[in-house]
Amino acid sequence: MSLEEYLGLFIDESKENLQVLNGNLLKLEKEPENTEVLNEIFRVAHTFKGMAKTMGFNYTSDLTHNMENLLDPLRSGKKQATGKVVDLLFSCLDKLEGLVDSIVDKGSEHEDTSVNELVKDLQAAINNKETAEPDTSACQKLEFNEYEQIVIQEAISQGLNVKEITVCISNDCVLPGVRSFMVNSALENMGEIIKYQPSVEEIESGVFLKTKDFDHAVKVLLITHEPDEHIIDKIQDISEIAEVEVSDITAETQINQKLKENNIDTTEENQQPEENKQEDLQSQKAISKVVNQTIRVNAGRLDKLMNLVGELVINKTRIFELSKGLENITGEIQEIVMKLRMVQVDQVFNRFPRLVRDISKNLKKEVNLVIKGKEIEIDRAVVDEIGDPLVHLIRNSLDHGLETPEERIRNGKSAKGTIELHALNEGDNILIKVIDDGKGIDPERIKSKAIAKGFITEEAARSLDESAIFDLVLKPGFSTIEVATDLSGRGVGMDVVKSKVSSLGGTIDISSKINKGTTVTIALPSTMAIIQALIIKIGEEIYAMPLNCINEVIDITANQVKKIQNKEVITVREKTIPLIRMPEFLETPDYIEDPEQPITVVIVKSHEKYLGISVTELVGQQEVVIKPINKKLCSEHYISGATTLGNGEVALILNINNLV
């Protein structure tokens, strides 16, 4: 296999690794002490480095190598993951993403000098920290546990001296253990030893403290009346002792120590539940890892399988009468293949924490992002497409929806805003909600804006209900924000979101309460590939309509068709529904409906709106496999795809959402 062939693998894995990195960096920002997270980040950087080296991507490997260098002391606890460090790591992540993107596009890294700058920053961060850090390996300070502290305090309050004595045994001493033991007994005679470091056991196994110059040193904490000189003399009497140092432990150092300890205590306390959580997560992860064993499937092969199953489904309809057994088999195959296409929305959602972090920092707003329903599964085709519209909605919420912390407090809300991203199943549909608790949309402002822009007349505006008003936001060129910001407000966007969603066969709905917040709901079909459809004839042409948007089918006589404002409508159960004469609408050749004849009307529903569609003949209900069709061919988006029928002919699938 040449490197070329590994490239796909590299890209796939890199993308996965980038996601893991992203997630873990966000975690690290919240809990900089969490070594689990640090280890994971380190592991990712390491894997990345290895892969990039193999592939000959020097910038990537260089960058990850330096990330590793920075991460190593963090991981071993020698350094703190400060905000600066995390920011630096984030910019590394961005750069890595850029590099991987260019690899995807061109098969090679783009020449990027900014990588070198970043590497320099990394190196600076590594060096800075190391010099600033006290030389811990040289000679640690004695640390006291709770019991020892109490003893020290007692001693001090009773007017006794507490001494910290450092004794260095000369390097050429053959039996340092014996010497230290002699030190111990000498000191024992002068007072009470609270702490002896290293412990006797450790000394027996040859463990000593090390100082700059000496390999064997001990520290002793002694409560005594003796003056310093006396102690030093006594110890110097022992042969092969090179140096003795005595310092007082005062109440002050004691308090400092205590404060420090307390600090650690509280942080530890804070961490405790988190750690538990972490552990839970860890175990959960371990389980889900087993369940989620994935195999990378070549998309082309999968599509081929889809085609075959499609043909099989069609044949099933034909020989259904002959063999019931076949139905079971095809049913099962279909289910498996459908499931192959399903991926968790997690794939889309997990890029948002980072997005929200960056934008909210930028806007100086405080945001809590809540993600629910990560595990909901959605069609692969949808996952690829829905990301951008969601990014747009979240940006909108952050930029226009949520207020600044000051504003929020003034309005009696908590300073921190909440954006909720919520996926859930509802019937055949999957709903994705973007909920914010911001200032909401003012219907009056939209109305006046719409009038000013000439979307509606003042008269029409008065009769609009709330949901109709919010629908105006989805119109092209509509934006209520006067000043376009970096993020949004240019009046493109919501209509793009809408067209994207409807091209996926979904709908979008906005609801909002002033000062309470806004909810945007996107409803998408859970599967794109096989749907239940009603097969109809318009003229001599056969079309398919998705069953989930059909409300009912009725026969009406010619005189039931009324005209309002020159448009044909019908009245069904007190509801007035617009009617589209399909042969005319689709310019069906050689067929014109006789307006005097009774007609069959299919009532469809989309966006809570109804529409009557006249058809020539109902053929039946059938499962159809949706196949993509060259979009340039159907510029007006009334066709969402095509399917093959039992006789091998192609039937087009009507896009009801765009008709209504």
Partner: protein, 174 residues
């Protein structure tokens, strides 16, 4: 495309010769996926006139366009209807069918025998690679990538008919 060919040092180009109206055209063989008999296509409402519709090719939906309609070639074919074929071209990962009046033969064209388009077409030379000479025949060599795009400006199509006209005159002289 012609420059690329010359640069690559390739001596011969294998092409398929087909007819639209009375003229002979050629496309490199590597972009032709297969040649199939004409079949009933499903009309797409409100699509451009030259789009014949979509057909079912072993489970894949393939759009079919009518070559003569697309390039506004009015003349009748000298071939009987029974010679009509759909050439299925695969260009930039999109499969499209092209209805032609007949598919004649596969030949090896000497790259040195290919000349650039004879008239000044300004920017619009992209549809053509040039004119190929083969045994006293003049073949209009088509750049399949540009040729199959569904939407483009009328200018290019004009250029196309211009070239066709020039060829016709050239042939009259020969």
């Amino acid at each position: 495309m012609l420059e690329d060919l010359i640069r690559s040092g390739q001596k011969e180009l294998q092409v398929i010769i087909f007819k639209l109206g009375s003229e002979e055209y050629a496309v490199p063989i590597n972009c032709v996926q297969e040649i199939i008999m004409p079949q009933k296509a499903t009309r797409i409402p409100k699509s451009p006139k030259y789009v014949e519709g979509v057909i079912n090719l072993r489970g894949n939906i393939v759009p079919v366009i009518d070559g003569k309609k697309k390039f506004l070639l009015k003349e009748k074919s000298s071939n009987p209807l029974i010679d009509k074929r759909i050439m299925v071209l695969e260009v930039e990962n999109e499969t499209t069918g092209l209805i032609v009046d007949s598919v004649n033969e596969v030949i090896n064209l000497n790259v040195s025998e290919i000349e650039p388009p004879p008239i000044d077409l300004e920017e619009n030379t992209e549809i053509f690679c040039g004119i190929g000479k083969y045994n006293n025949r003049l073949l209009i060599l088509i750049n399949s990538e540009k040729f199959m795009t569904i939407h483009e400006e009328a200018k290019k199509i004009e250029a196309f008919s211009k070239v066709t006209d020039v060829i016709k005159k050239a042939r009259a002289v020969v």
